[in-house]
Subunit: 143 residues, 2 copies
DNA sequence: CTGCATGCAAACCGTTTGCATCCCC
DNA sequence: GGGGATGCAAACGGTTTGCATGCAG
């Protein structure tokens, strides 16, 4: 029922946007992606970035991550998978945990909604922030 | 480590805000809450609503729901529980599914993050929107 | 009397949109 | 030549913040 990916014309900015997004696993925000793409296309506009990301989301080429946090992030990996978000620095990473299909079934039994899927995001502290935290704690102890 | 709830002074607007939030199970947005409270406190400002909601979140009296969707929603039920969001009208409801503690353990094994918890939101279609959808489909068929 | 809380309005930030121009087909 | 895509800038919606005033302790 959805528009197939092939329907979308791959313009230069679209292509570069996708390349840059595929290049990293940091799930960048639109603004971060804008800065990344600007290095290759100095005259690109933020509007174009948002417009094209939206188009690529609609056509299923990329994913928009709408879980917790302020800004939306984008992901070139479209297979369903989960994420962790660092509660300190806001960084996001993939979690290679098998998608829990059964959970939607369980939920479906508990509600009158027609369940389509689920979003799961873990919260935690990333290695870098753990180190920083440990350093700070130590500092406080010795002070 | 967190500031205990008792530290927060319960001002009139804080109290009424909490009462109105507790009264409904619709997980209202700040703006909706603002309108609800306005009936009892016509001169309250939107800023006060945001400020007090934030204070109550920080002190653990209420929850801020930061999952998918545009605006943040608030919940007077602070015990961990899950939600469904209607992909059509955006309405949110509780899902009385037992919280899956094991899942955080599984995730912890797969990542170098220190996992604290998880956010789980189901997506689906609410009963009302299902009906509306069915009516529209029928209409299209007979047309 | 003192300080935190309030109402109000302006600022902010991420995102969207209108429009004239440009480029590809 | 025509239609969609672009760059730019203005608008927008949600949220935050600065400030003068008000009220509770």
């Amino acid at each position: 029922m959805n528009t197939p990916p092939s329907m979308v014309r791959l313009t230069t900015q679209r292509q570069i946007l996708l390349e840059e997004l595929s290049k990293v696993n940091t799930h960048p925000t639109a603004c971060e992606l804008y800065k990344m793409v600007q290095k290759r296309l100095p005259r690109i506009g933020l509007g174009t970035v948002y417009r094209n990301l939206e188009i690529m989301v609609d056509s299923g080429i990329i994913l928009k991550l709408e879980l917790g946090g302020e800004q939306k992030r984008f992901d070139a990996t479209t297979e369903p998978h989960y994420h962790v978000r660092c509660t300190v620095c806001g960084k996001m990473d993939d979690v290679t945990l098998q998608v829990q299909e059964e959970i939607t079934k369980k939920a479906a039994e508990k509600t009158s909604y027609k369940i389509i899927g689920h979003l799961l995001e873990f919260t935690g502290e990333c290695p870098d922030c753990q180190k920083a935290q440990a350093a700070k704690t130590k500092e406080a102890d010795t002070a």
